[in-house]
């Protein structure tokens, strides 16, 4: 796990010091879009805590706000209102530079559409986040090789994304997400464009990462994919309608309580 960094807010110590901070702490998050003068509520008041080491599946019908939620969690978008602490850091007033550093160091993204950069080989794609964080070229290369080896693509280093199958591209994306050693891996329908065999391969990779102790938040609408997770959160119309642990893996038991153990009221965050 990444060491506490300079990004941590000074109000960190106000939180109950006997427990580690949750990796994700969302409180009363609202996100609205204005389209043609009409206000659309994509997220209508979501509070959610995700502890370190959890593997959370977020389910829901299309348009229920899953991607919107993930974009907020991934610091790609900002909520209209509400509080969000990521790994103990209140991201509310961070500027573009700080947010890009958080995305770079703390989060690894895996998208439905793979989102590799075309005209760049697999290994260059994997190296790119490390390039942005200033890792030295030799170290970069070493770590990228390890990551690609881990996802079983050690023999496809110089292939371009157009020369790789969907499943292979998604594995490159996982290697890219992993190699910066992020606290959190966010995946938005990672199997959405894959056949069932590639999906199973990919899920075994996620399971492996989870077993190593990584925190994973994965959006899916397929129940058999959600079955790999240790906890399933269901959204409908921008609200959480169900949140339950499942399976026998190292799931952290969690009770849905709106007031939450991690109260923002006594954490020094303005309300």
């Amino acid at each position: 796990m990444i060491a506490p960094s300079e990004l941590e807010a000074p109000d960190h110590k106000a939180i109950d010091s006997t427990k580690p901070e949750p990796i994700i702490a969302l409180k009363d998050i609202i996100k609205s879009y204005t389209m043609g003068g009409v206000e659309v509520l994509a997220i209508r008041g979501i509070s959610l805590i995700v502890e370190r080491g959890e593997f959370v599946a977020i389910m829901g019908t299309s348009g229920s706000g899953k991607s919107t939620l993930m974009n907020i969690v991934g610091c790609l978008d900002v909520p209209t209102s509400g509080h969000y602490r990521l790994d103990g850091v209140n991201i509310r007033h961070l500027d573009d530079l700080a947010l890009s550093r958080i995305r770079n160091k703390k989060i690894g993204f895996v998208f439905q559409g793979f989102n590799l950069i075309p005209r760049m080989s697999a290994i260059h794609n994997v190296e790119l986040p490390m390039t942005y964080s200033g890792v030295k070229p030799a170290e970069r290369r070493k770590r990228a090789l390890v990551a690609l080896d881990m996802v079983g693509l050690g023999d496809r280093l110089s292939h371009f994304s157009s020369e790789l199958s969907g499943g292979q591209q998604q594995r490159v994306a996982i290697a890219r997400a992993m190699c910066t050693n992020p606290s959190l891996i966010l995946a938005d329908e990672p199997t959405g464009n894959l056949d069932s065999r590639s999906s199973a391969e990919l899920m075994s990779l996620f399971t492996g990462l989870h077993d190593q102790g990584r925190t994973i938040v994965m959006i899916t609408h397929e129940p058999d994919i959600a079955a790999y997770a240790s906890r399933v959160v269901v959204l409908r119309d921008g609200e959480i309608v169900s949140d339950r642990p499942q399976g026998t893996s190292s799931a952290v038991s969690y009770e849905l309580s709106p007031s939450g153990r991690y109260s923002f009221g006594d954490s020094g965050v303005e309300s």
Partner: protein, 405 residues
Amino acid sequence: MASAFGNLVMAVRGIGSNWLRTLLTMLGVLIGVASVIVLLAIGTGSSQSIEKSIESLGSNTLTVFSGASSSSSSGTKIRNSTLNTASVSALSNSLNDPDVKSVSPVVTTSVTATYNGSSYSTSVIGSTASYLSAENYTVSAGRSISHADVADRAQVIDIGTSVASALFATGSDPLGKQIQLGSSEFTVVGLLASKGSSGLSNQDAVAIAPYTAVQDQLTGESASFSELLVQGKTPATLSLAESEVESTLASLNDTTVANLPFTVIDSASLLSTATSSSKTFTALLGWVAAVSLLVGAIGVMNIMLVTVTERTREIGIRKAIGARRRVILTQFLIESTVISFLGGIFGAFAGILVSHFKIDGVTPVLASYSIPLALGVAVSVGIVAGFYPAHRAASLRPIDALRYE
């Protein structure tokens, strides 16, 4: 933070994604840079040749034209004053004009010279023997026209190399041959050594004959000359010679120097006028070229805007995985700079190449400053034209860029 080299590699990769488009964009810059270099070379070349041709007129000659210079003409009673043989002998008097070496009357006309079926249009100068030395003409074969020829109204002629090569087959000797000028025949008695061509005129496309014969045969009898060529003793005393000429002509025509019905021009002032006007000409050409460079710059900006739009998604991905603003900005700036710089390099080569050819009678001379100037401008064009598109790319919100289809 990506290294500068990594950025460069990325930029080149980005450029490589659409070679044809990139090449066409570079072509815009290439043409701009090449035209800056070529047009400045033409300007420099023509001003150098103008200077050379004026220098070859002789650095110590004065030309007297009939007609007052504009500054002294107004309000002056126009006399029936002409340049004639009396003027020539008055100016030749070394008592009045101690600093004048020679005075040559000049009658010019243009005719078609023919010999044995070949014809050539040439200017014919009717003058005296002293004209040749005043104008720095030397005879490479045969003899110069002489004072006796002038007195005898002899139909003899010295011809320039261009005339000789146009009329006579190579190897044949023009000396002693009769060439046809208009309806009269002149005997070639001398060949003029080549003075080379200039931006103004081909100084080898001339034929020099006694002015008496030219008046008899070509221009018709006249007591007056269109101009007199006065050669001073030395370049240093040319201004003395000029005032002597002016006062002699004034007293001869019963007037004052201020109201002199003639214009006296010395070759130095002709040179400075020509130099300043050719500088203006060069600057004008430079501006024309700058406009084409501007068009190239707009092309770069246009392509960079298209590139940014096309690669919006890529920008989104880069931002999602942690590229900060400055990295994106630098990436696109480097890309546009590389395009313009390469365009500039190729343009410099093209410009240097084209400058080796004679263009419209002018031999271009590469201006030493034009190449660094053009390349510097090309790089600035890349940075300036790339800045707005790069800034747009860098300012995209990651979520908007990622959602872009």
